[in-house]
Symmetry: C2
Subunit: 97 residues, 2 copies
């Protein structure tokens, strides 16, 4: 795009980025507190952590600061949930199917 | 950005978008099949569905096709999980805290 975006549109974009980034934190907190990973999809968190890692690398290669920050932040709770899911499966507290 | 991106970088971006978009489908399938929403964070799915709705509107306003498609697709499984969570809470099969 060649024209700068109107301010409300830019703010909407930042608001959207903030909401999707923040959303994974309550899930990570809930999963750590309850230890209940049975309803959590392993495949979701595998695909998602791979996806946001790819987004972060894409941000680094294109020099897109907000993309790097948003994905680096989201990676933290996503990895926490993934780690808890894997630990539950290993301990036998949860099953793959 | 003024220069077109090198092809591998563009492909990485599309790969990242595909992974994060697809990732919510196995979660929706698992949640519908098992009906177990106790480990699912209501706050995550409220913030997330609001966030991707905002991303989709941002895509419409900026004329960004991939952003519209990716967020419209992600909205489907996210709404499915949110609806199941709300239904479980209403039936008393799940608790908020």
């Amino acid at each position: 795009m060649t024209q700068p975006l109107p301010m409300p549109v830019t703010l909407l974009g930042y608001g959207a980025a903030t909401l999707t980034t923040l959303s994974f934190f309550p899930q990570a907190i809930k999963t750590v507190r309850s230890g209940d990973t049975r309803g959590i999809s392993l495949r979701m968190y595998l695909l998602f952590t791979l996806g946001i890692t790819a987004w972060g690398i894409y941000g680094l290669l294109t020099g897109d600061g907000p993309l790097i920050v948003a994905n680096a932040l989201t990676l933290v709770p996503a990895l926490v949930v993934l780690e808890r899911k894997v630990q539950s499966l290993r301990r036998g507290d949860d099953r793959l199917w």
